[in-house]
Symmetry: C2
Subunit: 202 residues, 2 copies
């Protein structure tokens, strides 16, 4: 490792490349990202990228795999306490924390999960999302419930990656405010009707 100061140069380069790659995958999409662009943006050569990661798909796996692991852990816990509205609220808290800690990865596999079928890590993500949907929606899943879940998932993934909401002058929303707002919105969308939902136009 040339001119290594702290940890191994391998780990440092890998981390930098993973991070830059994730940013590209989330913003311009996996298919539209080139190894050359990622390498340039990270300050390495394309060959270096392919030294640390066997292929473009392997780089994707390294970039979003850990986030999917975390999601699977979350789902494992979810199986235990089911159904009770209070515990669902607690799950939403944890879920929002997960979203905030994995913004780019979530946006990547939520919005590209359909088109990247066949890539193992994406398949894993799709299975996890499917399990999440089954756990959140009732098993008999009315159309309304599926729409609520889809809007919650897609909406959260969207807002997490779209920093300032198309407003060029935006002041970059503070994370804790986003967190509380997101918990509130997802609670409204996913919690079984808490007595006072304004039932207009159903």
């Amino acid at each position: 490792m040339p001119t290594d100061t702290t940890a191994s140069a391998r780990a440092r380069a890998s981390d930098e490349l993973r991070e830059v790659a994730l940013e590209h995958f989330a913003t311009v999409g996996f298919g539209a990202s080139s190894l050359q662009q990622i390498a340039d943006h990270a300050g390495y050569s394309k060959s270096s990228v392919l030294y640390h990661f066997a292929s473009k798909e392997a780089l994707l796996e390294a970039a979003i795999g850990p986030s999917i692991d975390a999601l699977e852990d979350l789902l494992g816990d979810l199986i235990e306490f089911r159904r009770s509205p209070g515990e669902r609220g607690a799950f939403i808290d944890r879920f929002v924390d997960f979203l905030l800690a994995n913004r780019l990865a979530v946006h990547t596999f939520v919005n590209q999960g359909q088109s990247l079928r066949g890539i193992p890590v994406i398949e894993r993500a799709n299975v996890a999302i499917n399990r999440l949907a089954e756990a959140v929606c009732a098993d008999e899943a009315t159309a309304a419930e599926q729409v609520r879940f889809g809007v919650a998932l897609g909406g959260a993934a969207f807002i997490l990656a779209t920093g300032n909401l198309y407003r060029g002058d935006a002041p970059e929303l503070p994370e804790d405010e986003v967190r509380t707002a997101l918990v509130a919105v997802l609670s409204e969308l996913l919690l079984p009707v808490p007595a006072g939902r304004p039932d207009r136009a159903y």
Copy 2:
């Protein structure tokens, strides 16, 4: 195919190509779509695509431009009746109709509007979405309101393009049920708190 039966062959081929291209742009993304794939999928040659549309960007413009026109018309009307909750509800009705009639185009410019900056038609879409945000959120826009709008927009765009919600066995939700569900969800998200919103966990 030069054997023209009904309308002009130009118009028919253009329509087919626009449709196929829009499907590709919405699903795999503009940058990851190739003219060759679009041509193959439509049953034409790549040269034919570039005969009908001067460039890949021109094809994008043709594919989503009309939808953006419709959105701009919708916004023009929105300026007139502002603020009153009842009229906002009526606007949501019309907006959902617009979403359902322009599923793929909406998904395309909502989810790729950030990464495709510089393309004129995308710039136009971003301006329209920005205007929509300013009209829906209050001008002073709390973080919670911006999150609500973002979740509503991103969530709607997501669910419109993601046909069966990751569930391989899904029975393809009927459009009218999706419509009513979407109106209900967007009303909850965007209508100023209608007296009885369950204010949990704020």
